[in-house]
């Protein structure tokens, strides 16, 4: 196997293009396990973990821009406002201090894993993902990201993730159940991003799930049922019932169905109740 510590995105793309079995390594927390299990046919590793342009995290005007090779712990050292608590919670629960010190946000998304914990919050924030290949540079919305990259991102590189700050009358939350080592069948995560108007009614809503589909995804049906409604216990019930119908349909015949039906109740309720607590404090 050949290895190379890359100094720039350009150089990385050249290698990816010229060597068909080359692969990016960033924090290595997924890839090294994959390589050791011989699940990856790779003959050239290109390390992007020292590329300065991918290691920046900054706020430009109303937008957070996070380089793809920023490890979770560096993101967590950045000061995010109280109403983005869901983002902080999602990253804080990833693995362990050691994993958060190495694992990166770009690497978390790149495998298109349905249980990647950064994905539901980024979907709920309507985040954008910067992607470069040798041929083009593109900014893809998280909602289109999985269709865009399919099973994985071959010979391209995620360069940044960006999302806008949310107004004070909005709140992002995240909750998950299940231990990582267990298979995706015993995991489930939800993120909600709710904006209320002055009458305590839902003006805008994003609901995103992890590990109840092939990819993390927006749950449009729940969103459309509760938009314009007051955020209260009835709406929590309605959201849970709707999600249960979705899960029953999506996971029909799967052994994980019953577990997920009870898990969704806890996870979605936690997100919505935490949001209500925030709005009461405001």
């Amino acid at each position: 196997m050949k290895v190379y510590k890359s100094n720039s995105v350009e150089e990385t793309l050249e290698i990816l293009k010229s060597a068909p079995k080359s692969k990016i390594i960033s924090g290595g927390t997924d890839l090294i396990i994959e390589l050791r299990n011989h699940n990856s046919d790779v003959d050239y590793l290109v390390d992007i973990s020292s590329i300065e342009e991918l290691k920046k995290i900054e706020k430009v005007n109303d937008e957070y821009i996070i380089g793809s090779a920023v490890p979770f712990s560096d993101i967590l050292n950045f000061k995010f406002p109280d109403n983005l608590k869901g983002f902080v919670n999602a990253l804080n629960q990833i693995g362990s201090p050691q994993i958060r010190n190495r694992g990166t946000i770009g690497g978390n998304l790149a495998n298109a894993s349905t249980s990647a914990d950064s994905a539901p919050v980024l979907l709920a924030l309507d985040a954008k993902v910067g992607i470069s290949t040798g041929d083009f540079e593109k900014e893809v919305s998280m909602t289109d990201f999985y269709d865009f990259i399919g099973e994985g991102l071959y010979h391209g590189i995620i360069t940044y993730i960006k999302f806008k700050e949310i107004p004070l009358n909005s709140y992002l939350s995240f909750e998950k159940l299940g231990y990582r080592k267990s298979l995706a069948i015993s995991k489930l995560s939800i993120s909600t991003n709710i904006t209320l108007n002055e009458n305590f009614e839902i003006e805008k809503i994003f609901v995103a799930s992890g590990a109840i589909g092939k990819y993390p995804m927006r749950e449009y049906e729940v969103e459309s049922k509760i938009i314009s409604q007051p955020l209260n216990e009835n709406i929590i019930q309605l959201s849970i019932e709707t999600m249960k119908e979705i899960i029953s349909e999506r996971l029909k015949g799967r052994s994980s169905l019953n577990y997920k039906l009870s898990a969704i109740e806890y996870v979605l309720r936690s997100c919505l109740e935490e949001s209500i607590q925030y709005f009461k404090r405001c």
């Binding site: 050949k2 510590k5 924090g27 090294i32 050791r36 362990s96 201090p97 050691q98 994993i99 190495r102």
Partner: protein
């Protein structure tokens, strides 16, 4: 083979190493720093923990070539000459070592916690060692040891000679 420059425990090395080796292989097999333990090889147990450029990491999940020009501290780097350091003393004093397999990683996790905050809460300690598994102690004594080490560091506790 590739050439690596690395500083380990304050000594500079230039080493030729196989491309496929991980940091743990470099430390254990090339530099004979066998205080770095290999448990699960999958990032779960923390036995292989070292401090890389100031951060606690699992050396089983880093390729050796990635650490070129970096600085690594292993358990061997903590003692001062023949004397063990204050965290090691606290682990002994608190009875936090049984079989000892987790201990090097646990002490480096403790160092990462105390380097940030010499007066950590129990919650911070538990979070800080959450990537280090111990099959023997039930963790309570380890938490006490790290509190004690914090006490040594900020002067509220003194060593029993």
């Amino acid at each position: 083979m590739i050439n690596l420059k690395i500083n380990v425990n304050n000594t500079d090395y230039e080493i030729e190493i196989d491309e496929e080796k991980r940091l743990i292989d470099l430390l254990r097999d090339e530099l004979r720093l066998t205080g770095v333990k290999e448990g699960c090889s999958e990032g779960e147990c923390g036995a292989c923990s070292v401090i890389l450029d100031g951060k606690l990491v699992n050396s089983c999940l880093i390729m050796a070539f990635q650490v070129n020009d970096s600085k690594v501290v292993t358990i061997e780097g903590l003692s001062e000459g023949d004397n063990i350091n204050y965290i090691q003393k606290a682990f002994i004093e608190a009875g936090a070592v049984q079989c000892g397999y987790c201990t090097p990683g646990m002490i480096l996790a403790a160092k990462a916690i105390l380097d940030k905050n010499p007066n950590p809460s129990r919650e911070e300690i538990r979070m800080g060692i959450s990537g280090n598994l111990c099959r023997c102690t039930g963790y309570e004594k380890i938490v006490e040891a790290i509190e004690l080490a914090g006490g040594y560091l900020n002067g509220t506790k003194t060593y029993r000679e």
